[in-house]
Amino acid sequence: MQNVYLPKIAKVMDSYNEADNSAVLTLRMKDGSRFNFHAGQFAMVGYPGWGEAPFDICSSPLNSKEFQFCIRQVGSLSEKLAGLKKGDEVTVRGPLGNGFKALEDLEPKNILFLGGGCGFVTVRPIIKYIIEKGLYKDRKVQLLYGARAEENILFKEEQKEWKKYVDVQIALEAPPFSAKASKGRPKKSKYHKGMITDLFKKIEIVSPASVIMCGPPIMYRFCIQGLGDKIKPEATYLLMERRMHCGLGVCQHCAIGPYYVCKDGPVFTLEMLQMAGVQL
């Protein structure tokens, strides 16, 4: 019988700082085994003696040799993990959860991402998959991202590459004053001012589209309201967050109504949540 609680040891191959007090760790299994996962899945990442906690796998699902986590420092374990350097060891238990098993089969084909806060991490493996598999060729992909200020934007550098394939639109609550005059002409800001929901009025929203929301529940509520009948509950995917311990649907920490976020999620359709009477 396999020991479902026993993690594997992974080696830190690289670590760099990201926005919002985060660090991206690149890992490789110590025993050389592959780590196969779907975009949207997570793993319990731990440091011996400090505990383990759920983190989204944020690298491309097409690379199973090395994989990444983007860890935001909010407490004892996350601070420890974010401070690790090349050569350090962590424990990894997973991949866990459902994730997106077949992004190419999403119906409607177009994809609209709505991201915000630290939930935005999950957008990255999906976008990478879409780009590497060329899924952008036969569908429109739009990413709306709401952040507080420019320095909170995650994966800002990479987004330059994403923009070649994906329509990226960013709304900032506090945009930079750098609508600087260059050569006498005012430079157009790269960002929109306001909340993510303000974008719905300013730009053309891809529709019909499968909607993938990664962010805090309050953002989900406002986006669902704001998008009105562009939202189809069966084609709207929400990433849910809960405290987790087992990651296997046993310990009950992550239960929402009849579901376990760790096992039945973290990706839920709005339809599933509505049917179970889950309030966002």
């Binding site: 609680y5 003696g49 505990g51 060891e89 809960r242 311990h245 046993v250 310990c251 239960a255 929402i256």
Partner: protein, 317 residues
């Protein structure tokens, strides 16, 4: 007076080097402790105040240690143990644990050394509960190794047969044949599932202290935490959890998804009456009455479910 046959069986288990656990009075209540002699029949006739579960799933157990850059699983070195005098309700709880922890190496390691000995002074089919069906087939619907009904012995497992033979006791073989669908379980599931707006939760929320005594006493409650322990030894441990405690759903930043007694007690009932039947097809509550007995404010689980059932009936009219 405990019958000669029961004394004979108890002494035989002792001779066979079983550590025997059963009801014994400690601090004015019947706890489950290691026994030296056969318990008084009066104690066996009643459901003990405390459950058996902690001798099968300890309050804390080490899962693995990290040493010399390696992870090493740790298993308890369990001796042969017998749970003596489990009620029909306790055995129903054991059946649930077996299902929930089917793929759990730590549970199975402890479970393989367990001999479950049930006891009932009256015919088992005469037990009453609204939570699951009890009829002539009840001994087929619960799991045990040995069941003592009055002075009659039954065996369900190979282990049970072997020990009864060894002890020179006559027995009847009963095969485990769980009920496919229990109508009572399904009816209650339906009612609790759709009860979110019932004022019962409002009422309970006002009086429940969220002290968590009920879950500690409950034989089916199995929530747990996984904790890491820093120190000279780096290890991960599993500890029993409690959904009434504040950190159960707390995430970094302090947000709690369950942050008042009303939501907590609803979550607790929902697990017992909806999630468990949905996943395992078994009742999540055995109606043993322990939670009602320990609750400082007199919250009575059976009465509450009866109330919900009535509410639905009245609505239909």
């Amino acid at each position: 007076m405990t019958s000669d046959m029961i004394i004979k069986f108890f002494n035989c288990l002792k001779a066979e080097k079983y550590n025997i656990y059963g009801p014994e009075i400690q601090d004015d209540e019947s706890d489950i402790l290691e026994l030296q002699e056969v318990p008084d029949l009066k104690l066996l006739e009643k459901v003990s105040a405390r459950p058996y579960k902690y001798h099968l799933m300890p309050i804390r157990e080490v899962l693995y240690k990290y040493k010399d850059n390696k992870l090493k699983e740790e298993f308890l070195k369990t001796k042969k143990q017998a749970f003596f005098g489990m009620s029909v309700f306790d055995l129903k709880a054991l059946e649930l644990y077996d299902r929930v922890f089917q793929n759990d190496v730590y549970y199975q390691n402890n479970r393989k050394n367990l001999l479950a000995v049930g006891y009932s002074s009256i015919p088992a089919k005469n037990y009453k509960t609204i939570f699951f069906t009890i009829d002539e087939k009840i001994l087929e619907n619960i799991v045990f190794d040995v069941f003592i009904e009055g002075t009659k012995f039954y065996a369900q497992s190979y282990k049970g047969e072997k020990i009864l033979k060894k002890c020179g006791l006559k027995y009847k073989k009963i095969d485990y044949n769980p009920r496919k669908e229990d109508k009572k379980v399904l009816a209650i599931k339906k009612v609790v599932e759709t009860s979110k707006d019932s004022k019962l939760w409002e009422e309970l929320g006002k009086i429940c202290l969220a002290c968590g005594k009920c879950t500690i006493a409950c034989p089916t409650c199995f929530c747990f935490d996984i904790e890491s322990v820093l120190g000279p030894e780096k290890k991960a441990e599993r500890c029993s959890g409690n959904c009434f405690y504040d950190d159960f759903t707390r995430i970094a930043g302090g947000h709690k998804f369950l942050n008042n007694p009303k939501d907590k007690i609803f979550f607790w009932y929902y697990h017992k009456f909806v999630r468990i039947p949905h996943e395992y097809g078994l009742p999540g509550c055995t109606d043993c009455g322990r939670c009602t007995a320990v609750c400082p404010v007199g919250i009575d689980i059976e009465k509450n479910i009866v109330k919900l059932l009535k509410e639905v009936k009245n609505k239909k009219r």
